[in-house]
Amino acid sequence: MSKPPQDRFIGGKQSYESIDRKIGRVVLDQKSHPPIWLITFAMAFLLVQVLGGAVLWLLYKGVGIWGINQPAGWGFDIINFVWWIGIGHAGTLISAVLLLMRQQWRNSINRFAEAMTIFAVMCAGMYPLLHTGRPWVAYWLMPIGPNTLGMWPQFRSPLVWDVFAVSTYMTVSALFWFVGLIPDFATLRDRAKNKIVQVVFGMLAMGWRGSVRHWLRYETAYLILAGLSTPLVLSVHSIVSFDFAVSIVPGWHTTIFPPYFVAGAIYAGFAMVLTLAIPMRAWYKLKDFITDKHIDWMAKVMLATGLIVFYGYILEVFFGWYSGNTYEIAMIKNRMTGPYAPFYWSLITCNGIVPQLLWIPKVRRCYPAIFVISQFVTIGMWLERFIIIPVSLHRDFLPSSWGMYIPSFWDIAMFVGTIGFFIMMMFLFVRFLPMINIFEMKELWQRQQQAEHADHADVGAGPVPAHDAAGAGHDKENAQ
């Protein structure tokens, strides 16, 4: 069962040692970082200062500095909350759903994507907290009671479900990520030459020794966490969509929202993974691990989820017409021809039309093209939330209460600031933690070797001694 080389998930000539070295080097040899790291980090750090300024001014003045008004009480804050949390979902999809489906190609991108999830959820979490206007009493959202007012949260409200969903999601994602890192911390502890680095990774590894007893429980825990995360990620974006769908606002009150939101989240998330993976694998010479095949498959997933999302747009229009409801029809007309019509048509272009280029195999092999298409998708998914939120709100039932929504300078400053925060965290992650799962790559490599040379099970561990032949016979059975 030998596979042709272009079908492999790990390219080049590798050994256990070379996998450790190539991935570990990025963390252990701090001099190996290209100057682009510092340039990007510095720019992102500047944007974080913008975020700090925007948040401070918000805390001082209140949410009035934003563009939100009556009737559009939700604006950039909720658009960006939904956008960021959607971006995070690809991380869980890659790490959990693909693990359950035994898609081993995920092994080289899951760590990276999980980190993306955590940082994206951090960005997302800032928005509703600050939107409350008084984030210092954010604990009122939790059922810690009776608090000073003697009140409890209203458990029939989707906004309370959201608090539970997002905080559970953040916690479980962080746990899943940390558990995945433990064996790699041990590898880095054992490879580090510097005493301080050894101690830090030693503490993080918590004494991991790779005993068969450890591994058995570890794999059980990891698999069950994946099994728990899979419905969790679906529930989170479904619950986010309930924030809208449970209300009666035209444009929000549709049953298609949960699946359409989940597909959109995966779509945006894969676009972000590609946006980050394409430059990273070039800068850090990791093309053997994040292969051309990975990029090709991610582009295909993006195309598939993009079609689901596009189907959602078409259905929305159909529902509006088929409902026969004056307000629904008016909402669709307003989207297509109203004051925000350019946004609607840009959304259709970015999310519906441009990604169709990915049908062409040549485009999927052209990395600048995929990178640009990913940007279109990222912008398109942002526009989708813009269309759903303020565009639905600004003209609802009574023409006398119609208005317009125009974001303020501070809305934009905070949005740009969270982008800076996300990039800064990703760059710190790449520098100080292994961005590819080392032990899973070694396991995958060993299986790939087994499949390719069924008669040399232990090839690559060094010269194969004669007495290993017995062991190889056993592995041959396994490989079938």
Partner: protein, 184 residues
């Protein structure tokens, strides 16, 4: 440790192998030779190794299940108690115990508790965090997390004999065999 003048108590014999196949084979032969207290170390999970050392532990699965059940009960109990007993609010004439509306929070509580049970159960049953372990003093054991595979026969095994067991492990094709001392 070193200040004890008497002969230190051994922890066991540690044999080093080059690959996962060799380790599984050696583990099987060691079991077949009648050794019971054995352990194996590898840089990544090796499938078939747990069977080879005849180790299984169903406790973690049950712990996670119990965690999930407790989370579900707490989630449901909290919502029901708050909504019916402590702070009843009439929302559009819906029943106080409006179960369908409680499903999302109930589900999140289940997942959260089960996940905590999975992570802390795994660490707890594995005895982690544990800063030191006797096997860490084996020369070259730092490669157990990189590219070498180790089989340990513990000294508590009734068949254990420093010389005979060492010879036996050597005969399995080990790269090296070391005896390690136990901690105090």
């Amino acid at each position: 440790m070193s200040h004890a003048p008497a002969a230190p108590k051994p922890h066991g014999l540690v044999a080093e192998f080059l690959g996962p196949g060799a380790l599984i084979e050696a583990a099987k032969k060691t079991r077949a030779a009648g050794y019971k207290k054995i352990d194996a170390y590898s840089p990544f999970p090796v499938h078939g190794l747990a069977e080879a050392v005849e180790f299984e532990d169903p406790r973690l699965q049950w712990l996670i299940f119990i965690g999930g059940v407790v989370g579900a009960l707490v989630g449901l109990g909290l919502q029901a108690w708050v909504s019916v007993v402590d702070y009843p609010v009439n929302v559009g004439g819906k029943p106080m115990l409006s179960l369908p509306a409680f499903v999302p929070v109930l589900f999140e509580c289940t997942v959260l508790a089960a996940s905590f049970a999975a992570v802390f159960g795994m660490l707890g049953l594995n005895g982690l965090p544990r800063p030191h372990h006797p096997v860490f003093s084996v020369p070259g054991f730092d490669r157990a997390s990189q590219d070498r595979f180790f089989l340990v026969v513990e000294a508590v095994d009734p068949q254990y004999d420093s010389h005979e067991t060492a010879d036996f492990l050597q005969s399995l094709g080990a790269e090296s065999v070391h005896e390690v001392e136990d901690e105090e």
